[in-house]
């Protein structure tokens, strides 16, 4: 009977990564990510950048030294003998060794620092994201698929980890290398550099084209993967039906169709991805060959070579060193093109993480607080730290700088309340009701009549658009949300339990409750019996939302949880819907105990549960169409009467 929710299946991974391929990140995402990195690790990142540059340069400069080894040692050595060049030889080898050692150390240092920076940043991000998520209004969770929210923690953070930890350092390193090589190339020959430039342009264009094709099919692959997964889940969940109808063969045929579609998309996506590297590598080879041919022609035609250091004739030595530089350059470009898609994915992930962080938190302008109170002989209320069972609203009046206390009664009024989840679709129309302290008010009506909506408004999961809701005469907008909610106990139809022991789950209602109090609450809810029969009794671990328990048992735990919280006002939204009538009769006594002396709002489709309410509201399409006690309503012979006699369907 709860309102329709859009929930993604658990741990859905496919569609999320599919989105990360599609959506480009919002502008400014990269900047914000960098700001994130630098906020906590400014000094370390400086060291990292320096080390990356050192490590990149050491790789590039090595080529120069090899050149010098030939020109200054080998060539003269061959003619003049070993002794003549021995000093020079040792000097060059030593400088090479030093450069290499620096390079290795630099890369070790930055890799290790980046481990700390990457994981630290991710941890900060996760924590910030979770903190923000906890402050978001219920509306956010009702309007976003849960699978999507989950994937910001899984897929998106993973993509960011890839990007920060691997792609970004590599990108910097490759950029430095490329710049250094281009500079050296220009230093040797502008003509040959032009040839390399044209080939690089071709490589980049191809990367763009093939990469584009790859991501198109990747998207389609993810889509068909999602539909295959959806089909598998549908069939698994409906396995009983499949079996009792002997539908296996036809299920297989349908599956094969979807599976074939996935195959062809997957094949094409992978093919595009696979061919990119061979193409780039061999284009590198072709560049190499073209340079050699062109260089050879230039040498033989004695063409004038123009370089940064002036004009001269081209020599074989220049061409040889150019060749090795071009090889290094094309390899570096291939490396970068491999990182581009990872960086795009990381940015898209970061975009979604930041989008979550940008969501506006639940607004709370309340200032009235709920405190433990004591009453002296004269009836004066004073604040106290201990739990006294007596609660008071604490008002601070700014105008007079005074604080007054008012005893919590549990008197709730709604006056002419209008509400809709979306502005253009009104759900509740002119709802007015009064719940006096200690009364039990029931809501009855078909799915979508607005029963749950009313309870959503009392604890301000949603804010009303028109009308007034007062709690002990105070407009609930003036009460701090946490304090308002602490005064309201709630038991929902969809029970959510948390990973932990049974006892911990009951204690969720009040964190400082003793074991005895928790067990007493379980007894009250008639849950003690089944808990003791669990393998480890109260210490039984619950995982996966209490997957090992039946829906009825989970509801009993949820009632115990609310009982331990001991709030002055209770909302029971289909709290016993999955408990059979006989057990319910047993729970009923506990429930009656729980409800005694409290204001209670009850929603139930089983009318036996609401019969003894002080007032029953029959809702239809967001309006209260009948109200009164059970007997009064039966006498009216209206909708309630028809529901009660079973002439109407409730679900």
């Amino acid at each position: 009977m709860a309102q329709e929710k859009t929930r993604g299946p658990r741990g859905q991974r496919g569609p999320a990564s599919f989105k990360s391929m599609r959506q480009a990140a919002a502008p400014g995402t990269g900047k914000r990510l960098l700001a994130y990195l630098f906020r906590y690790y400014r000094a370390r990142l400086m060291v990292v950048v320096i080390c990356i540059i050192l490590s990149a340069l050491s790789g590039t400069v090595a080529t120069v030294f090899l050149q010098r080894l030939i020109d200054e040692v080998i060539t003269p050595g061959v003619t003049s003998g070993f002794a003549f060049v021995a000093g020079k030889f040792a000097g060059i080898l030593l400088s090479m060794a030093i450069i290499y050692v620096v390079g290795v150390l630099a890369s070790l240092i930055y890799s290790r620092i980046m481990a700390t920076v990457t994981q630290g940043t991710l941890c900060h991000m996760r924590d910030d994201m979770f903190d923000r998520m906890e402050t978001l209004p219920i509306r956010y969770f009702d309007t976003h698929a849960h699978g999507d929210i989950m994937s910001t923690y899984t897929n998106d953070t993973d993509a960011i980890r890839q990007m920060i930890g691997q792609s970004m350092p590599m990108f910097v390193q490759c950029s430095v290398t490329i710049l250094a090589i281009i500079f050296m190339m220009l230093y040797y020959s502008i003509w040959l550099t032009l040839v390399v430039g044209v080939m690089i342009w071709l490589m980049l264009a191809l990367t763009g084209k093939i990469g584009g094709e790859s991501s198109t099919y990747m998207t389609r692959q993810q889509k068909s993967l999602a539909s295959v997964e959806g089909y598998i889940e549908e069939q698994m969940n409906g396995a009983r039906v499949v079996k009792v109808f002997n539908h296996e063969t036809r299920s297989k045929e349908d599956f094969d169709r979807l599976n074939d579609a996935l195959f062809s998309d997957s094949e094409r996506a992978n093919a595009a991805g696979n061919v990119l590297m061979p193409i780039l590598n061999n284009l590198g080879n072709i560049t190499y060959v073209l340079l050699a041919i062109l260089g050879g022609l230039l040498v033989f035609s004695h063409a004038v070579n123009i370089s940064l250091v002036g004009a001269d004739t081209i020599t074989a030595g220049i061409i040889v060193s150019f060749l090795s530089m071009s090889r290094q350059l094309t390899q570096t470009i291939a490396q970068i093109s491999n990182q581009v898609s990872l960086i795009a994915m990381g940015l898209a992930g970061a975009g979604r993480v930041f989008a979550l962080m940008n969501e506006a938190p639940e607004a709370d302008e309340g200032y009235v607080m709920l405190v433990n109170a004591e009453k002296d002989a004269d009836g004066n209320i004073t604040e106290t730290a201990e739990k006294t069972g007596l609660w008071a609203w604490k008002h601070y009046h700014r105008a007079t700088d005074t604080t007054t206390y008012q005893e919590l009664q549990g008197d709730i009024e709604m006056e002419h309340v209008n509400f809709g989840y979306q502005p253009d679709r009104q759900i509740l129309h002119d709802v007015t009701l009064y719940a006096k302290p200690g009364q039990k008010i029931a809501f009855v009506g078909a799915t979508g009549a607005g029963k749950t909506t009313i309870t959503n408004l009392i604890n301000r999961f949603y804010d009303i658009q028109e009308g007034k809701i007062r709690y002990d005469g105070i407009n609930i907008g003036k009460i701090k949300k946490p304090d308002l909610r602490r005064s309201l106990g709630i038991v929902l139809q969809d029970v959510n339990l948390f990973t932990g022991t049974v006892l911990e789950n009951i204690r969720y209602g009040r964190l400082d409750a003793t074991d005895e109090e928790c067990i007493a609450a379980a007894k009250l809810a008639n849950a003690d019996d089944f808990i003791r029969r669990l393998p480890d009794g109260y210490d039984t671990m619950l995982t996966g939302n209490g997957a090992r328990l039946s829906q009825g048992q989970r509801q009993l735990l949820s009632i115990a949880r609310a009982a331990v919280a001991d709030p002055p006002v209770m909302i029971l939204d289909e709290a016993t819907s999955s408990i059979d009538t006989r057990t319910e009769a047993l729970v009923q006594q506990g429930m009656d105990n729980l409800m005694r002396g409290r204001t209670v709002f009850v929603i139930a489709h089983r009318l036996s549960t609401v019969r003894n309410s002080n007032a029953i509201m029959v809702l239809d399409h967001g309006r209260i169409i009948e109200r009164g006690t059970h007997e009064q309503l039966l006498e009216q012979k209206g909708t309630y009467y028809q529901l009660y006699t079973g002439a109407f369907e409730l679900e």
Binding site: L105, G238, P278
Partner: protein, 594 residues
């Protein structure tokens, strides 16, 4: 029950053998891929060799050889490109096809599993095996037929080439290979257990997010935001610490590789240069020195790649194992040889039947049920949550096998029937009614694929579904969303009853399947059953007394036993549990009190 526990873990060889059966029509691509990869590697290794010749001619006196060698080189590069391109295409086909066949085989196998088998694996684990695990194996497979072929070949070719240039200096590289190998595999061995730990902690952390997302109403209602934050920060911090540790160890990888490479280069430069000078350029050439260094880089980076492949493949190994576990699993519940194809009538007998879900635990869900239902009668079953009403009826179409005792349908042991024949004769409308995405007509034809429109409409009228279907815009062609979310609970139940009726079953079982239907319609449906299908045995499980009170026999179940048995009047007179339920529902007891 057969004793088939998780047998000793399969060896890698067995796993490969099992998975290999799914390659089938993609064998060709799977073989062509490494062939083209080999071609590409070969050409890539020859290229520098020819290149050296061209470079030597740069100092020559004629343009002709340069152009000639240039043309050869271009042709080689083009061939290499073609090989690379084709190997990429074939690898994609082979791996995607292999994955397709794996999914197909898994799905087919899962269709044959009994519920006991499915429970053993758990539904979500089976879904993961069919999706994530297959994707992992697909990626690993592609890696193996491409990169895992390419890398060792590259290493071997490079070694051969470098030895052909200068054997003595090649030994330097050869000596570096084990050094680097030991370092890198040592790093991996150290990191793997940490990663396994991380995955667990990561899962726990995500579980906590999941709980917060789906239980946000509870978190907010109890004002537990701070509590949850603390919990999450702790989990997040643990992940951070372990992950940082692992990455810090992995950070040694590249520097170690570079250190080995640079050492080798320095040694080669020293030895090479000395050799050139000492021999006056006759024993060794400058060009040779350059080529040697190129090949050296290729050899050592191949080791790096090998370790990467090793990690990827060992990660996929777990997935491969999980897939083959399903593929080799023998379903516990199958049709016998020479099975009976005909179910003579709708009589049902339980001869001292006991049942428990898990073989090891002696937690009896049903104990000593002795029950005999004549064909064509109606039986009502009533009882509390967990009294095993559903368990009882699941034994009739053999969704589970009795642990002790015998279940007979039409006088014969259900184990002697062909499963299809038995399940065709027994129609069950389940507690959790499931409709599938498709039109109403398509959903109805699950009951009988050859049913005519008239037959469908007749059954829908019997189940009182026709009235609301006629009011829908597209009538019988109305599209039902996945899970039947666009019809009400009562409507869904009526559709499911109609679907079951289309099977023209000998036995019809309604498992709490009129709970959302209003009492008037409920009565109409029961009346239609009595009048239109008098020969069918009807079993009705219900919460409402009114739904079962007209049955020939009523069973009251409690704690897996039949607590009371009789008809409405006799049970009321008995004053037991049935009476208690009756009073609680009619409010007879409470009216006076309230």
């Amino acid at each position: 029950m057969k004793k088939k526990k998780s047998e000793n873990q399969m060896s890698l060889g067995e796993v490969l053998q099992v998975l290999g059966k799914s390659i089938r029509e993609y064998k060709k691509s799977s073989i062509l891929t490494p062939l083209f990869v080999a071609g590409e590697v070969c050409l890539e290794c020859i290229l520098p060799f020819v290149m050296a010749k061209l470079v030597d001619d740069l100092a020559g006196s004629s343009v002709q050889p340069i152009l000639r060698y240039g043309a050869v080189l271009l042709a080689l590069a083009m061939c290499s490109l073609a090989c690379g391109f084709l190997s990429g295409r074939f690898a994609a086909t082979a791996s995607a096809g292999f994955a397709k066949n794996l999914r197909k085989d898994l799905f087919a196998k899962v269709q044959d599993l009994s519920f006991q088998d499915v429970d053993k694996f758990s539904t979500s684990s089976l879904v993961t095996r069919m999706t994530t695990d297959v994707t992992n194996v697909q990626n690993a497979y592609q890696m193996i037929i491409r990169i895992a072929v390419r890398t060792p070949l590259m290493m071997i070719f490079s070694l051969i080439m470098s030895f052909s240039i200068n054997a003595r200096m090649s030994l330097i590289f050869l000596a570096m290979v084990p050094v680097l190998g030991v370092i890198i595999f040592g790093i991996n061995a150290k990191v793997m257990p940490i990663f396994n730990r991380i995955f667990k902690k990561y899962d726990a952390m995500n579980e906590s997010v999941e709980e917060n997302v789906s239980g946000i109403r509870v978190v907010k209602a109890f004002v537990r935001e701070d509590h949850e934050r603390d919990k999450f920060h702790k989990a997040s911090e643990e992940v951070r610490q372990d992950f940082t540790m692992a990455e810090k160890i992995l950070a040694w990888n590249t520097p170690a590789m570079n250190a080995c490479l640079y050492t080798a280069m320095l040694l080669v430069s020293y030895v090479g240069a000395s050799l050139i000078i000492r021999t006056g350029g006759t024993g060794f050439t400058t060009g040779g020195l350059f080529s040697l260094i190129t090949y050296g880089v290729q050899i050592l980076s191949a080791i790096m790649m090998l370790s990467m492949i090793f990690v990827m493949v060992s990660m996929a190994q777990e997935s491969a194992l999980r897939i083959s576990e399903v593929l080799v699993y023998e379903p516990t519940l199958v049709s016998p040889a020479n099975a009976d194809e005909v179910v003579p009538d709708g009589s049902i007998d339980f001869d001292h039947v006991s049942f428990c879900y898990a073989a090891r635990s002696k937690n009896w869900a049903l104990s000593d049920i002795d029950l005999h239902i004549p064909s064509g009668t109606s039986v009502g079953i009533i009882g509390g949550t967990g009294s095993s009403k559903t368990t009882l009826i699941q034994l009739i179409p053999r969704l589970y096998d009795a642990t002790e005792g015998t279940v007979r349908v039409g006088g014969k042991d259900v184990k002697h029937y062909d499963l299809v024949a038995l399940r065709d004769a027994v129609a069950v409308v389940l507690q959790k009614n499931v409709l599938f995405s498709g039109t109403i007509l398509e959903n109805m034809r699950w009951g009988n694929p050859n049913a005519t429109q008239e037959e469908v409409e007749r059954c829908c009228r019997l189940a009182c579904a026709d009235e609301f279907i006629q009011q829908m815009p597209d009538k019988y062609d109305t599209w039902i969303e996945q899970g039947g979310t666009n019809v009400s609970g009562g409507q869904k139940q009526r559709l499911c009853i109609a679907r079951a009726l289309l099977k023209k079953p000998k036995i019809l079982i309604l498992d709490d399947s009129t709970s959302a239907v209003d009492t008037r319609t409920d009565a109409l449906i029961r009346k239609a059953f009595a009048e239109e299908i008098p020969d069918t045995t009807k079993i009705i499980i219900a919460q409402r007394i009114t739904s079962v009170q007209d049955c020939d026999t009523i069973l009251v179940m409690e704690g897996g036993r039949i607590a009371e048995q009789g008809n409405h009047e006799s049970l009321l007179a008995k004053g037991g549990i049935y009476r208690e339920i009756y009073d609680s529902q009619t409010g007879a007891g409470r009216k006076e009190a309230g």
